[in-house]
């Protein structure tokens, strides 16, 4: 039997939700905004949209200029650690991906000399560094945690990455993706974290590998990383592509 063109809205809901967010300013024209932008109709949201995106790119440049590669994020003592540490993702905690440690390997690509994938044992064999720092969410809340792992600078040097590349990008097992500027990637406190609070990363905090960047907001700290790439092509990010400011430095 031929099906007439009935649209199954349910199966498209996630895509529609994202489209809705993407048009974040058109959707943002609340009563207040309309009263401020006198005489505008909804189509004018496109102009406002472009201005805000341009301002966000300007803010990227200002933040890159403000970023001091030698300034360390404040560190805390073990008694300051927030317990329980809040779970945060774009899905509920039960949906966090279960990854089998035995067949896990971190893929590396892009402007790097050695493209061999990294098992957890090999990552753990590299020198590790520990930090107790404040994780600041773009929503405003913050929590102090302890992470340890491989300094990203040491890892990039180890794989012969082109350190003049502009971006380091990450893909994750939960379909999340993120990218940071090279200056931040080389910051002494930016680490590929394997441990949280003294033990292997629990599933909800990003097992088996998470980027810990205390000089950026929480959403720039991807979890469940499965691949890393050095590139000069702007890679964007899961939230950035929907409108979050890309640099989002602290």
């Amino acid at each position: 039997m031929k099906r007439t063109g009935r649209l199954d809205l349910h199966s498209h809901r996630p895509a529609l939700a994202r489209l809705d967010r993407r048009l974040f300013l058109r959707g943002s024209l609340s009563v207040g905004a309309l009263s401020l932008l006198t005489g505008c109709n909804l189509q004018d949201g496109d102009t406002v949209d472009r201005v805000l995106w341009a301002m966000s790119r300007w803010n990227d440049a200002v933040q890159a200029w403000l970023f001091d590669p030698n300034r360390l994020a404040p560190t805390f003592s073990p008694k300051d650690i927030t317990t329980p540490f809040p779970f945060n993702a774009f899905y509920p905690q039960d949906d966090a991906p279960d990854i089998d440690a035995s067949d896990y390997a971190l893929e590396v690509s892009g402007l790097v000399a050695e493209r061999q994938a990294w098992s957890l044992d090999r990552l753990r064999a590299l020198p590790q560094q520990s930090q107790i720092t404040r994780h600041i969410c773009i929503e405003g809340w913050s929590a102090i945690g302890q992470w340890s792992g491989v300094p990203l600078r040491a890892f990039l040097e180890r794989i012969g990455a082109d350190l003049r590349g502009r971006y380091v990008s990450f893909k994750c097992a939960d379909k999340y993706y993120a990218s940071i500027d090279m200056a931040t990637a080389l910051h002494p406190q930016t680490i590929l974290a394997l441990d949280f609070a003294g033990g292997p990363l629990p599933t909800q905090y990003g097992f088996p590998l998470k980027l810990r960047v205390p000089t950026k907001l929480g959403f720039k700290n991807p979890k469940h990383i499965v691949s890393l790439s050095v590139t000069n092509t702007y890679p964007g990010g899961y939230w950035e592509d929907q409108g979050y400011n890309w640099f989002s430095g602290s």
């Binding site: 943002s28 300034r71 773009i138 409108g243 979050y244 430095g249």
Partner: protein, 203 residues
């Protein structure tokens, strides 16, 4: 007999209206950001917010901040260098504030064009201080690592969040009173638009 009464210099009027737009964007987008993770036991209603969702609100907040800060710098330098602040806001004496406040409570306080009473002076000084507070705490929230000394001086990130909220509340409270007074003495609105007015007979 009529006379031209000069009320507000052109620069004060221009920066006033730019500020009205900028502070409106900052407050409403700020309330949307607050709603993403409320500090206290309430949320701002959606109709009072700007941005539609957290990402949109942050885009507004960090775009409008340039307008707000740029405009404030122009106004602040003018106010300090031209003597406008000194002439309009000083002297500020506790005794005068008390006297004018009591008169206002008994509806005896007269509005005098071109001159602020002591309660007005105090409230303008306070809102300038709240403005400075909101900018300083805002910078520390935006860059708690790069400007960590500033954040630490205010008690650390979580304290700074509350200071930023408090300064916002001070400004919002000022705006409410400010608008009520404009409703009570509507001709002050003309003065802020046109700068002067032809004084009529004493009212």
């Amino acid at each position: 007999m009529t006379a031209r009464v000069s009320l507000h210099p052109p620069l004060v009027r221009v920066t006033h209206w730019v500020n009205a737009l900028a502070i409106g964007c900052m407050l409403m987008s700020g309330w949307q950001i607050y709603d993403a993770s409320p500090l206290f036991g309430f949320r701002f209603p959606a109709w009072a917010t700007l941005g539609g969702w957290l990402g949109g609100a942050i885009a507004w907040h960090f775009a409008a901040m340039w307008l707000f800060v740029g405009n404030s710098v122009i106004y602040g330098l003018y106010g300090l260098l031209s003597g406008h602040f000194r002439r309009a806001l000083l002297p500020l004496r506790a005794g005068d504030v008390l006297r004018d406040a009591l008169d206002a409570a008994r509806f005896r306080l007269r509005h005098r064009d071109g001159e602020y009473n002591a309660v007005q002076r105090l409230s303008y000084v306070l809102v300038l201080l709240f403005g400075a507070m909101v900018v300083i705490s805002g910078l520390a929230l935006w860059k708690p690592v790069q400007f960590q000394d500033m954040a630490a001086a205010m008690g650390g990130y979580e304290v700074v969040r509350r200071i930023h909220f408090l300064a916002m509340a001070g400004i919002a409270g000022f705006i409410v009173v400010h608008l009520v007074l404009v409703l009570l003495v509507p001709r002050t609105l003309i003065g802020m638009i046109l700068g002067d007015r032809t004084a009529g007979p004493a009212e």
